[in-house]
Symmetry: C2
Subunit: 433 residues, 2 copies
């Protein structure tokens, strides 16, 4: 489709004629040049630029909604599901929310320049490690147009340039949002190339981004399993990835029964489609109120799939297959097992958890501390709903995602996770013996 391969208004024409590798290299060069400017700005300057971007998004409201209507019409013609169309659809309220979110990020503290550690050596060398931006961050995402503004705002606040590659269903919405955002930055004296949207939907460009080591410093995939898996399989650039959230809640023998009921009900049923929702419930064989806990979930409309001992608790519990213990339902479905104590629970979690978020409900401080120390997940909770696994709930402000890898940043990732550090060494002429 010509409309899909047409370059953005503010891009050199002929972009579509370049090879995917040349296109990514050119966009990356422009983005890295803009990032060198960003890296030298004060926190106040970056905040002002984000407020200008928010204002530009509000001013461009009609154009953005018109572009979105174009995407919605195309999506309906393509037969997108109602859920996909809902993710895609913008209205004045959602648009206001997008601009407000950009302003909220402007209000978050600037992570850049923060001193992580300082020391002085016997020879008088003064060392410090200070936070700096990562550089150029590539975001590969699906149909939610709000990601265009959210991701750009987080990257900008942390001094990073961003190269955005959204889903084709949202192409016109993303172009309108990115163009408005860039206009706002320019009005604040920041090169528009600090935020760039890939001007073509050619899928080969995604491959070129994933292999652009040295051009792109980190890739953040935002979307479903298949997208993240493809990115992880093909990437030569470091990836900040979010995989499954197979989250467990273990109700210990010493759990308060009412707390066990309310926490497990909230962990599963508050919202079943988010990564922090409980997918497996582990009930201690010594916990006396297991029947009422499962009854609460069943009465709330949750399908339970249990092992033999769990099924003995309630005739409504179906039989679990082996795959159930490794399944992220993201739905009103829950696997339930009865376990013989803390160690058995932690063994089950070690075998089946995706190391995202796992929780224990207990009034026993010793059991709680053992669980916190020994469960090897990005987030380990005591007496709380796993649905708190969220950057906003952790007080980080907006989040770029929840990382399930082991290196760099883990769990909810916000501004600090979009920075790295360098060592500063201040001497007075020292030479090494």
């Amino acid at each position: 489709m010509t409309v899909e391969t047409a370059p953005l208004a503010d891009r050199p024409s002929g972009a579509a004629a370049e090879s995917p590798e040349d296109l990514v290299a050119r966009l990356a060069r422009d983005g890295r040049a803009a990032q060198r400017v960003l890296a030298r700005l004060t926190g106040a300057q970056k905040a002002d630029a984000l407020r200008a971007a928010a204002a530009a998004l509000r001013a461009a409201g009609p154009a953005i909604l018109e572009a979105n209507a174009h995407d919605i019409a195309a999506g309906e013609a393509k037969g997108l599901t109602g859920a996909m169309l809902d993710r895609l659809r913008l209205d004045p309220a959602r648009l206001a929310g997008i601009a407000d979110a950009v302003e909220q990020v402007a209000g978050l503290p600037d992570p850049v320049g923060g001193v992580i550690a300082e020391s002085e050596r016997p020879n008088g060398l003064k060392l410090s490690r200070v936070r700096i931006p990562i550089g150029l961050i590539g975001i590969i995402y699906e149909s939610r147009p709000n990601v265009t503004a959210d991701a750009a705002a987080l990257c900008l606040r942390s001094g990073n340039a961003v190269l955005l590659r959204g889903g084709s269903e949202a192409l016109h919405s993303n172009r309108a949002i990115a163009a408005a955002f860039a206009t706002g930055l320019e009005s604040a004296g920041i090169p528009a190339a600090a935020i760039q949207l890939v001007p073509t939907q050619d899928r080969a460009v995604v491959g070129a981004m994933l292999t652009a080591a040295g051009f792109i410093d980190m890739i953040v995939p935002r979307g479903g399993k298949s997208l993240v898996a493809r990115v992880q399989a093909d990437a030569r650039v470091p990836v900040l990835a979010h995989l499954d959230g197979i989250c467990h809640t273990y109700v210990h023998a010493a759990a308060d029964p009412e707390m066990a009921r309310s926490v497990t009900l909230n962990a599963k049923m508050r919202r079943t489609g988010i990564c922090g929702s409980m997918e497996t419930l582990l009930l201690d064989t010594q916990f006396p109120e297991s029947a009422s806990v499962v009854a609460g979930l069943l009465d709330a409309g949750c399908e339970l799939r249990g092992d033999a001992r769990a099924r003995a608790l309630d005739s409504r519990i179906l039989s679990a297959s082996e795959e159930d213990w490794d399944t992220e339902y993201l739905d009103s479905v829950l696997s339930v097992a009865v376990v013989d104590g803390l160690d058995a629970a932690m063994d089950h979690i070690a075998a089946h958890s995706s190391h995202h978020t796992d929780a224990i409900v207990t009034a026993d401080a010793t059991a709680a501390e053992r669980f916190l120390n020994e469960v090897d997940s990005a987030i380990v909770m005591v007496n709380a709903s796993s649905q708190f696994a969220d950057g906003g709930e952790f007080g980080l402000g907006a989040e770029i995602g929840i990382a399930t890898g082991r290196l760099h940043a883990r769990g909810p990732v916000a501004l600090e996770g979009l920075t790295t550090y360098k060592w500063l060494v201040r001497g007075s002429g020292q030479t090494r013996p």
Copy 2:
């Protein structure tokens, strides 16, 4: 060679008959099981285990030296260079140094359990981020047998299990060192699988390690450019890599002449073969003593390759080609350019630095701070020799390497760089609204 494919004495026999993928999977399962034990040990327990390993290395001295003599004889027969044979050769003094280094690591503070940050949310949730081991670390290295003990000690101190794959020239030495190390750990009650040496030199095993995502958590290549490049090109597992050290020293107009002479001479000539040695000297056109700085280097036996303005300083300076500005000589060779001020120097560094270590010599505090803030390298120095770029010199104790990537750990990497973190959430029954 049968001797190269023979399984280690303490490995199940038949290892050589497995596919490389099955072998790595088995070693990884054993290593991960041992790591779960390590993760629960106190710092004192890990320190005791390392002291036991040091003692075992001393006790096994004769066997290790005999194995090393075998490697040296094979290396001489293979026609290894004198430099390679020297890296490979062990003697009682070097062996004592290896055991002493393990004991020194035992004396370093345990990074595991350290609290990175704590906060309390308005709803009463108490959050903390604590350091934990990364898990199973793969080390792929070349001919220095001391790496076997050094890397194992650093991984153990930080609670990680390690899978070692050394060079075939050092196979017998590595096996003897790894076996002694494991014996020491076992005597302290730690599973021997906490440190495992790949029992075959089959090159396909390296490929299997690099793609063992989910089994191996991080790969650290220790060796020359070609090894690191191959690892980076093929790895599916995160890599903590050390690439070139194209380090610059910029002598600013306001540099103290004597400091400029001593710092540049030390940065280049103290040891020319290390990654922190200066490879490019930038002289400010306003610095009045450039001629004596280059004379000092030339008189010390360094070959200088300069641009036209540098060559005008001394007739002994050869002509630099374009490649010289991007070359890591690791030898008594230096490229020299005359630049027009701080911004020109930083532009040259931005264009040609490998972002390892770059330094400025100046008495002007404003120029120094601009250089520290704006030069985007892992280590940025003022008035000090770039040869201080070293974990020991930074007070980190032994180092696993110097990372030139942008994520996770940068610059000298020691124990903290071998840890990651998890979020601990302590609640009192909170459910998410």
